[in-house]
């Protein structure tokens, strides 16, 4: 009896120490990630906010605490508001188009077979290039004088359009280059999600003679809803940080029509050395992206 009681107690203690050991092991595994996360994300976030409260020069030693003056200056900065409008316009073009295009491609190429495997590779391949390569290629296509499209237009007797030089076309042109560049990853995410929808549901639908449109609306789309929200949030965060395309293809022109927030942050911080003011902009951008993503996530979860 005594020995039985002891063994039960020992077993209980074992589970107890066992679970504690699990916790320790779990934290040990998490530690590298947490360390990197703290050093490269959390610390810079707070440090950036701290810098934004200063008149702080990137080069040299000038630093002066000025409270929220940088934020007050931002409020009155016409160019900053313009970059926000430009960036929002860019995101409002690219995010829906990217999501729709990625989904369409995923639906088209997720089938088994060698041809589709090759096509998946082809559509994903453009994501591998660096922004400098992508912009170089697209400049060669869009250049109003020597570009591929300009030559095509001329060959059929139409006056070429200066896609990167005309205010109306500049932003859509950057969006097209971005779509071509970035569609690979969301497409891959959609393919993964589509493959998780059980095949028997489709078979059942087929037995019921459901139309393809009905299958898409009633089975496929609800089946990938979480991925859909994930892609949307990722795209919003990504497209709000657009920089390289504008910097390399239009340098923010014509007439600041394609100047984006990150480009303005870069110029202010690195060209003009005003890292305090640039940090204030970065904080505003962070809050903006964070809020939009939260709203998106909230909307996504509300419908569950």
């Amino acid at each position: 009896m005594t020995s039985a009681r002891t063994s039960v107690a020992a077993a209980e203690m074992n589970t107890h120490t066992g679970s504690r050991r699990d916790w320790i092991v779990a934290y040990l595994f998490l530690l590298p990630f947490l360390a990197v996360y703290l050093v490269f994300l959390v610390y810079p976030l707070f440090s950036g906010f701290w810098i934004s409260l200063h008149d702080w020069e990137l080069v040299g030693n000038f630093r002066e605490y000025i409270g929220f003056q940088n934020y007050r200056d931002l409020w009155a900065d016409v160019l900053f508001w313009k970059t926000i409008r430009n960036t929002a316009l860019f995101a409002s073009i690219t995010v829906p188009c990217m999501t729709a295009l990625a989904l369409a491609l995923a639906l088209a190429v997720r089938r088994p077979g060698r041809l589709y495997a090759v096509l998946r590779g082809v559509f994903f391949a453009s994501s591998v290039f660096s922004v400098s390569v992508v912009t170089l290629v697209w400049r060669m296509v869009l250049d109003g004088d020597r570009g591929l499209l300009a030559n095509l237009f001329r060959s059929v007797g139409i006056r070429p359009i200066g896609f990167l030089g005309e205010p109306f076309w500049a932003m859509p042109s950057l969006a097209v280059a971005t779509l071509w560049w970035g569609v690979g990853l969301p497409m891959a995410l959609f393919i993964a999600a589509l493959n998780q929808i059980p095949q028997d549901i489709y078979e059942a639908a087929e037995l019921d003679f459901a139309s393809r449109w009905k299958v898409l609306r009633r089975i496929t789309l609800p089946g990938i809803k979480r991925t859909f929200v994930l892609v949307l949030v990722l795209q919003i965060v990504l497209q709000f940080q657009m920089f390289g395309q504008a910097q390399l293809m239009t340098k923010g022109g014509p007439a600041d029509q394609t100047r984006t927030i990150v480009q303005y942050i870069y110029d202010t911080g690195f060209r003009d050395w005003q890292i305090g003011y640039a940090s204030a902009m970065a904080v505003v951008l962070f809050v903006l992206m964070f809020s939009i993503s939260m709203v998106q996530l909230w909307l996504g979860s509300k419908e569950d």
Binding site: L58, F62, G165, K251, P254, A255, D267, Q274
Partner: protein
Amino acid sequence: MRKLTLASLLSATMLVSAAPTHAADVKLFRFFGDCAGDYGSVTDVSKANGECGIIQALTNKFNAENKIGAKVVTQTVDWNAYYDLLSATYTTGNIPDVAIMHRSILPNFVKRDLLTPLKGPLTKAGVDFADYVPAAADAVTVGDEAYAMPFDIHALLVHVNVDLMKKAGLVDAAGDPILPKSAAELIEQGKKFKEATGKTYIGMESDSKAAMTVRVFNSLVWQQGSDLIAPDGKKATLDTEAGSKAASLVDEMYKAGLVNKEQDYAGSEQAFLNGDTGLLFNGTWGVDNYDSQAKGGKAGLKSYKVANFPNLFGTPAAWSDSHLWTVPANPERKPEVEEAAVAFLKFLNDNNFQWARTGHLSVRKSVIASEEFKKLPHRSEYAETATIAHAFPAVQNQRAIQDVMITELTSMWLAGRTPGEALTSEQQRVDQILRRNR
């Protein structure tokens, strides 16, 4: 496999660290491109061409011949990112020992004591400051101190396709191109040229990145005896009568179809070389290349000449800037490294003629007076540029100012703004930048 890679990485690291270190390694930070593939082992500078080739060959020659055991290690940076990266080195601590810098950038660095004063060290090494032409001496001097060593003056020129000009009847008896002497004449001759040849009269980068626009505009303002910034450096003087005349002329050039607004920098050069442009507005740096292409016989451009930027408003003036060599301040630099850096600068100064082969104007009176300089192709055609070269007033943040001016001026033909609208906005935004300057 991974083990193998790791092992080879390790041995490679050991090899690098075991390589003989020189008495003084000088870290050189520059743009001008990377041509180590073509010129990596060339020490005969006369065999090198172009900015990149010549500076690479000069560096090789110094490394091979100097007696103090110095070795210059080059880090080439793409021109677009150059100043951002140079600025960043002050924060990361990896400060170069010698860095190329434009005259227009110098004020930012001097104001914050980021450069080593060089008058004493260079004089001691044997560099004669009295040999510099006044514009070059001005470029590096603040008060009584020199914060850099001048290397060239580069300025706006007109590159001419003589065949096309002849076709338009715009060549005199001596075979020299006839260039306009007033704003009205420019438009008139342009229309005549266009009618006779069906080609573009003026080639000039015109996209939303076009710095050439600003160079032309500045030159036109200076030609009216006016300036772009008030003498105290606190306010811009852009939205003025002179500014308005200059901007209106540029706008008119586009409206009359004399310039192809679809061309970017490379496009404008290509069109000129293809023989599709009468006059190319570009700097001294193009001379060497266009000359050899025209002589090479493969380009559409067959008969090439250069001219000073035409005086359209009475006072001759052409935009200019200068390449300067600096020694970025670094309290941790060893004295022998600084000595080696100065020795390298002295070597570059001794070879200033070689650099002038690029097309840039020499900064040394003795080189300009030399026979070998006079023998360089086309130099007599733009000799006057040395005296009419005009630099932007020495204020801080000229990169930001130039970017604003590019945006506002190009908006005339890219976004349909009037010269008045462009100038009002330009004035306001440049004033804002000047207000920030400490």
